[in-house]
Subunit: 239 residues, 6 copies
């Protein structure tokens, strides 16, 4: 049993509230336990300069954290005048993950920006962000389809993400902040609903990890993302 009472392969309580924001083309407030992220998708009918004339679209991610999302207050990046390396790494990850599952050719010269802002953090904010961002993106595409600009939703597959790690020598799924702080290994898996790999970021914090340990983490992630994918479909009212 984990400190939270969860079994090693249990997700936290996950909720996905769609259309939380009235202005965005698509939005989703995602909760992974006490981690709360607001995801909004903005559709723009023009792509970055370097893509113009290619007939292809683009999807980007941006990420931020409110100052008191964290246990002790974190200074505002806007006040310090630069985004941390961590922020940039996460927003690049969100963007790549969404682009891999989007049919950019079918999208045409449209750009979607997905903003993921962490209102409250308790570990796993990047995986919650990707999971909620997919829902916001889907919702935005539905709106574009309704306007007639696109015939169908240009998504090739679902995508979700979850963290796994080795805590007290045991592989566990969906780490909260306390577990994350004591994990010897931390890995983020971005997978499709079918279990294919979109992105893996695995980091051995204190000691290198064996093949078997890595395989165990990947197995947990498959189970977790399959459950997240079902929640995404439910939130979107899909079969």
């Amino acid at each position: 049993m984990r400190a939270s009472g969860r079994a090693p392969d249990d997700l936290r309580n996950v909720t996905l509230d769609v259309d939380w924001n009235r202005h965005a083309e698509g939005s989703c407030l995602v909760r992974f336990g006490e981690t709360v992220v607001l995801c909004t998708a903005t559709v723009e009918e023009r792509v970055p300069i370097w893509m113009r004339g290619t007939g292809r679209g683009w999807v980007t991610g941006e990420y931020g954290m409110l100052p008191r999302a964290t246990t002790s207050r974190t200074d505002r990046e806007a006040a310090r005048g630069r985004q941390t390396g961590r922020t940039q790494e996460i927003q690049r990850l969100i963007g790549r993950s969404l682009r891999t599952v989007t049919d950019l050719k079918a999208l045409g010269e449209i750009q979607v920006r997905v903003d993921c802002d962490v209102l409250q953090a308790d570990g796993g904010s990047r995986t919650a962000s990707i999971t909620g961002a997919y829902v916001a993106l889907y919702r935005a595409f539905q709106k574009v389809v309704r306007t007639g600009l696109l015939k169908e939703i240009p998504l090739k597959t679902q995508v979700g993400a979850v963290s796994c790690g080795i805590v007290d020598g045991r592989p566990v799924l969906d780490l909260d902040y306390e577990e994350d702080s004591s994990a010897s290994t931390d890995a983020n898996f971005v997978l499709t609903d079918g279990g294919d790999i979109v992105e893996i970021q695995a980091t051995a914090e204190t000691d290198p990890m064996t093949d078997d340990q890595f395989a165990a983490l990947l197995g947990l992630a498959r189970k977790g993302v399959a459950e997240l994918a079902a929640l995404q479909r439910a939130a979107l009212g899909l079969g």
Copy 2:
């Protein structure tokens, strides 16, 4: 009747949800109609360097807006590397307003930082911020009192804020975004529950304003802040 169906002296529907954030010493999610602001108060047992040894405390405000809080997306200040003049003006206003009603001597060498982050904007985000910030600050002080660090809550009076303006030639209370865009004059009033003046920022956008017009706006503000003060007391469970 206004476009929203409100009478000239009607506030929008206002709600104040306390303790929305689990980490902050005090927090409040405030809604003025479709304007939604998350206010969190962080208590630090040390003041800025220039105040050390004075025996006095300090209260500051910070302000931010999520990219898609606005109708069309606004670029992230953290990405652009600097806060706009508007942001800085608002956060200075929040800080001054809270300090005027705080007994900084009774507070002792403690600093409270109040963050106001706009999750969704529809006009009046600075007045909603001040109104919610007071609640978050009060809540944080309650927590400090419970720890025994302070004997009583070092607030001299309540403070709330509301905007008024002249729209279509008529003074109205608590402008939404559409009204704000077409107002010939826009004024923000920060008042105590007793109606005294903490701060006035009145701006004639297109034409200078007469004394009578100004007096009408101040009158509306008094009515509005009295109602806001009652809502603050209710949210805090005070008599």
Copy 3:
């Protein structure tokens, strides 16, 4: 009597020297006692991108302070790499005040930038700036009229500004630095020569202010700006 020997409703000695700078289309060196500000107006025959094609003009203000304008030296904003919130707040105020009295439609697609640089500070630099900026702007418009680009000077009214405050419990006009530091309330009034309100920024520093106190300050400001307006007309050689 005040420390300076002035009566409560006395302005400091005010001078307005026009055409102090040989390059600018309009310029004015304004002195409010020991506060000295150089105001220059630059005419550009193109407006910001977002205004092109609207047929309307624009007026902006910028503000700066030399490092040793202050009693002890202040670090150069250019060296620190960002303008303070105070600087941005003041330059926004200057710009708004000038635009309110300018007929932007009559101006056509012309932009005027008014720079106010404080060479020596002794309180009231923002009100001296606005008062001098009006003179520089008028002067620049005269030059544009002489070139035939405009038929008449596109100003609807004069504008001037003065600070008032409650010092030692008594309302006084045009505070110097020492008075400003000990004032319990500080208010800046931007008024037309006819006494209408262009902008009010009133701040209760230590205690909220009553209606009567506010009314007294506004009364002093009316007297002060009327005198400043007469000095502006004299400096410009107007009736």
Copy 4:
């Protein structure tokens, strides 16, 4: 056969020249084919503030690229005033990889900064950096041991890195720039000489990747890093 004439599991020609820089405590000029990186290790007898008094040491990585390291010139980050997200991501990766194999407790309160500057780029600059950084770090530790400050070299194992990817449907080892540009999947593996996992960053660029594909890449990486580890030992004159 690949465009370069290499077999799918061939590394490029790799060289490691130690002591290339006369000032650094340890240095190594590493070449992976036409990719050339200068790695220097700087020893400082004090750790960052947040580590003082912990009795533990720290190792960080920094990364940069000369403007004309790339096929067409890239603007200088110092001139643009900020490091890109890519740069920050890579330098964080270098630092984590080195820390995982360092015995930070044995190191004591010493910090080593390893700078990796790309003089010429042709794909794989981050993996070349890590491989060369290990050699520079080892060299620096040898110097510290000679001074008597440490009794033995505080490294738990060797670490090297290599990229693998799926090009034209086939898994290949150590991609050059041309291969990298056309790869459907790109993965960077940081492994110990024994084949354990220090870090994996796998990204499916266009389509999600299957388990089998991932396993093939990991197998190639094991072979590649084993060869790199042998080259490291030879460069350092170890058994």
Copy 5:
């Protein structure tokens, strides 16, 4: 005859008004024709960290230009967020020139910052700055001597500066903006009152310069600085 009516070896009309600023320990408003620079010297009883405990003092220069000092308006460095290379080059020159003539050992652990702000520019602002900065520095030292902190003024010699150039094939002294723009060679000479060399910055703009041309410029500069030194003594009321 030059366009201005000056002979080739004529300075422009030069004035040095001491004590122009009421706050600074020393100040001087210097005019070289239409070039106007305000120089202020600030005395601080502590030196930069890297000099503490050395028993030696330090003198630095800073330089700025008001936006409309120039014929057409120049954007404010504080607004752009960085100082140009030209600004930095000039302020480093001012600092070095003043330090060379100051007895830093006799000064003791005191720092003087000299700010040179160009109110109006017409060529030669850096040479006017150095010439005026010397006067402001001398004045500040007089004040320090009066307070008893120093026994005598720690200046080894006077220093002044002037530009020379080859205009229309002829060497001329003290170029104004128009001459400077058409000069084939531009040189700034910082010399002592005795004619010794403190700094030379000579730049051939279009074609390299011969020895004879350079010698002619140096000769003009000697004559010019001797005259400036006499004006400095007169302004300071020295024999």
Copy 6:
């Protein structure tokens, strides 16, 4: 004899390796003793906006230093977010020196950017940069001529640079870092192969310098640059 065993008028061992970088149109790795600089020239078929339509070309220089080029590590300018005044001063000098010897009219609307990055520093990095930059620029022009875009190499003369200084009371040529640190006067001379002056930057560090001292330095520089020019011709395979 100097500490290095060199005679007062001896250069250090100088080498110029052309085509060191495979991507740049021209490149040269220059060594002045232990000072090592990589110079690359990038040809762009468009000039800066303000030059378009003039029919003239442009040459710029940029300069950087790797963190451990110096004896103790220097923080990365890209990490600090701004280039130092020293860096900007040097890159402006490199650009001016190259432009003076280039026939910008013959070049036509082409821009060449020359990057000089110091891999290892031991004094004289700016003079080594200019000397190597000329070689890289020449090499780039040869490439442009081969493509037929230019008929001949648009260089009017060779240019090289060397530092001289007064060390222990004696004028010496080509100072290394140790000599530079103890020099009472430091001067950088940029000269043509014929000995004409392109740029002089002479600075008296501790005491002003006499005419005779300056003349001695200039004499040494003439000898040094003549030798450098011969090495440039040899490196480029010119008569």
